[in-house]
């Protein structure tokens, strides 16, 4: 089971769209896939038309019921979802109460390893105990970066955090997201950033209205517009990720 976190300290960078579209692509390829919406804003859950409510979410985080009992099938073959729950906003507090607070998520996910080939974690922005849990559970971390100075700064913050907390062995996979080729700054940054960051994935996700339309259609972009530019961009990104994780 490959666990992939999709994360950025900053919100509004195309994180949820990435988790939704890549999980859809993995499932369509035949992999049994689970997407866990950990963000209390519940955007991924909304995209799949699922009710953002988890029965007994407190018990779930306390490990008293299995994740499998609260999983919902999406409308797509092979793709299941753990919906978001508003109570996740307090997840930090609950994690703090647990023993080994940084490894709770991994513990919850472990029993699912036979049932799923890929698990995507749509993570809440900000650095918290929840994100540290994600860093420790995931094999790879997908990081959408808008090619702006501010966005790059948050990437550096993350690197510092990982180093400071001795989190190693996590495959970092930053990629450019919401790219607008008409903007000078985007082009400049995209030219210079790779020199210092060999870990950057090649694929780029454009700023595209098709991605925004996911909110109208409430489904992955490939499902309603399989031939659009954004759909091929996510396809390329998914190929890159598979190549990186082997």
């Amino acid at each position: 089971m490959h666990i992939i976190g999709v994360y950025n300290i900053k919100g509004g960078v195309g994180k949820t769209a990435t988790a939704v579209n890549l999980s859809y692509l993995a499932a369509r390829q035949g992999y049994r896939t689970l997407i866990w919406d950990l963000d209390p804003q519940a955007a991924a859950t909304f995209y799949f038309r699922i009710q953002p409510k988890v029965k007994k979410s407190k018990k779930l985080l306390a490990g008293k019921i299995d994740l499998d009992d609260v999983v919902k099938a999406t409308d797509f073959d092979n793709l299941d979802m753990l919906p978001a729950d508003f109570s996740y906003r307090n997840m930090d507090l609950r994690l703090e109460d647990a023993k080994k607070p940084t490894k709770q998520l991994l513990k919850l996910l472990r029993p699912l390893s036979r049932a799923y080939d890929y698990v995507f974690l749509d993570c809440p922005p900000s650095i918290s105990l929840v994100s540290e849990n994600i860093f420790r559970a995931a094999e790879g971390l997908l990081l959408p970066l808008i090619p702006t100075t501010l966005s790059l700064r948050t990437y550096q913050q993350l690197l510092d955090f990982l180093q400071g907390h001795r989190i190693t062995g996590l495959e970092l996979m930053p990629f450019f997201s919401m790219v607008d080729r008409r903007k000078r700054m985007h082009l400049d940054i995209m030219q210079n950033f790779p020199d210092a960051h060999g870990e950057l994935l090649k694929a780029q996700i454009p700023y595209a209205s098709d991605v925004e339309k996911m909110g109208i259609h409430r489904m992955p972009v490939q499902a309603f517009s399989p031939n659009c530019f954004a759909a091929s961009a996510y396809q390329a990104l998914w190929m890159d990720v598979q190549g990186r994780l082997g």
Binding site: R28, Q29, G30, Y31, R32, F48, R49, I50, Q51, V70, V71, K72, A73, D75, D77, N78, D80, D117, R218
Partner: protein, 517 residues
């Protein structure tokens, strides 16, 4: 509890519109389709996917997918896109499906068995967010044979598909349809389609599974056994000729060996003078198939051979692989020539007509009229005693030939126990066959590894003459050393294994089942 799909037979009077009307009374519905797809079902010749509780099909619609359905629950366990027709497990792309298939298929190839052309309409039951909470699929199906023109209609089906996390919606759907008094289908679509082309899952197996009458005269039973072996042999000719996979030839050879064993071990039942030409005929079949089988074995072992070498010299073995492939090609061509020869055909044909000829009363031979059970008891006891005596005499210094002899006798004993197993309580005889198999495996290892080591030396000499590089021969030299070492290990284990086999409790069990001869 996980819910499973439910399948009903579509009654003639119910059409899509009717169903929609019933469902829309209390549900939001959305309709997809109609979609036309063609499914091709695959399995190995000996039904390994089926035996592993699976059904495997490739579906061609908008894209091509290969799916494994769990037979018991009708759940699709894995589905993955696949462009080419599946063959050997190693050609299936990495992933869930391959992990499932590889240990089941081993060396066997997947063959297309039957096509189903399907038109389906899907109704989705939606909740107020327009999220699908259950699916209803209407199927109209037609089967068609992979070869030839056999085709026809199958019963239509209604499938109710649950979605995880929406259990109560599924139960509600089932209740709504209860008023229609639909009949659940007993057979899967696959079984229906197979029936259409006159096949049944599991209609071939290389395993011996005779149902014998203990009171039938021995000559009748012997013919029954031999005829069934002949059926197995003949069933494997086509696949051997086409070299679809190596098991066809293997099964053909096993049937040959068993036939020869039956001829010699079911003693005093037929006139030996009449059997003689057939003994020779089957001896010949064993001979002409030997070389191809040997090369098959080396090719099947090749990956293990390679992996057993230090990584740095694994590539050095490649010329040996090419050598095997090339010689296999020649041997196979030679084998096909022999199989196509009048002599081969005549041997089998005359054997069949001899077996099927109205049984002569058989009073010329001492055991022909004996009840089957008595003959089986006697022969098995006798062979067992011989095995016990010869095996117990083997020590550390016994020459290899005596172990080879013992192996032959053990094989005879095993075949006899397998031929007649239906006459004995199942668990008891199974247990003893299993115990015997442990000894046979050990003896087989001892002999086969020696033969392999010797052949590798011969191949090496031949490759040298054909100009193979020294590095290949040196890699093969390492292999020979490893094989002989493993052979010695097998030899060292024999005494202990045999003493377990000849334990007092096993002896008692043999005595109880087969009596004292």
């Amino acid at each position: 509890m996980a819910q499973h799909p439910v399948t009903y037979i579509l009654p003639d009077e119910l059409e899509l519109e009717g169903l929609k009307k019933i469902l829309s009374e209390s549900n939001r519905l959305s309709e997809d389709g109609p979609v036309k797809v063609r499914q091709t079902y695959f399995d190995s010749y000996d039904w390994r996917v089926w035996q592993a509780d699976g059904e495997l099909f490739q579906e061609q619609g908008e894209d091509k997918r290969l799916c494994w359905v769990e037979r018991r629950t009708h759940r699709q366990l894995t589905c993955q896109s696949s462009d080419s027709a599946p063959g050997f497990a190693e050609t299936v792309p990495q992933g869930q499906l391959k992990e499932r298939l590889a240990p089941v298929l081993e060396m066997r190839v997947l063959l297309p068995l039957v096509h189903v052309n399907q038109q389906r309409n899907s109704l989705r039951i939606l909740d107020f967010e327009e999220k699908t909470v259950a699916r209803v699929v209407l199927q109209k199906n037609q089967f068609s044979a992979v070869k030839g023109k056999n085709r026809g209609d199958l019963e239509g089906r209604i499938l109710l598909l649950p979605l995880k996390g929406y259990e109560s919606e599924f139960e509600k759907l089932k209740r709504q349809l209860a008023s229609l008094k639909l009949r659940q289908s007993e057979k899967s679509l696959y079984e229906d389609a197979l029936q259409g082309i006159g096949r049944k899952p599991g209609d071939y197996s290389s395993k011996l599974n005779f149902r014998l009458d203990p009171d039938a005269p021995a000559h009748v039973t012997a013919r029954q056994i031999m005829l069934s072996l002949l059926d197995t042999l003949e069933a494997n000719i086509e696949g051997t000729r086409a070299n679809l996979d190596s098991e066809f030839l293997h099964d053909l050879r096993v049937a040959t060996r068993r036939t020869r064993s039956a001829m010699s071990q079911i003693k005093g039942v037929f006139d030996p003078r009449q059997l003689e030409p057939f003994k020779q005929g089957f001896g010949w079949i064993g001979q002409i198939t030997g070389e191809t089988r040997d090369l098959d074995v080396y090719l099947l072992n090749y990956a293990d051979y390679r992996a057993s070498l230090p990584r740095a010299i694994q590539d050095d073995l490649e010329p040996f692989h090419s050598f095997l492939l090339e010689h296999h090609k020649t041997a196979q061509a030679e084998l096909v020539k022999k199989i196509n020869s009048p002599h081969f055909r005549k041997t089998l044909k005359s054997w069949r007509s001899w077996l099927e000829a109205p049984a002569a009363s058989g009073d010329q031979t001492p055991n022909a009229m004996q009840p089957t059970a008595r003959l089986a008891d006697r022969r098995i006891s006798k062979l067992y005693k011989r095995v016990l005596k010869d095996g117990s005499n083997i020590g550390a210094d016994t020459p290899a030939e005596l172990l080879h002899e013992l192996r032959k006798d053990c094989k005879k004993l095993r075949y006899m126990m397998e031929f007649f197993q239906s006459l004995y309580p199942k668990p008891a005889i199974r247990r003893l066959i299993k115990a015997l198999k442990v000894i046979l495996d050990n003896l087989g290892e001892f002999q086969d590894l020696e033969v392999q080591a010797k052949s590798l030396e011969d191949f090496g000499a031949q490759m040298l003459r054909e100009g193979a590089p020294a590095s290949a021969l040196m890699a093969m030299g390492i292999l020979v050393g490893q094989l002989l070492q493993r052979q010695q290990q097998a030899r060292a284990e024999f005494v202990e294994l045999f003493s377990a086999f000849s334990s007092e409790s096993n002896q008692q069990a043999f005595k109880q089942l087969f009596g004292a001869a």
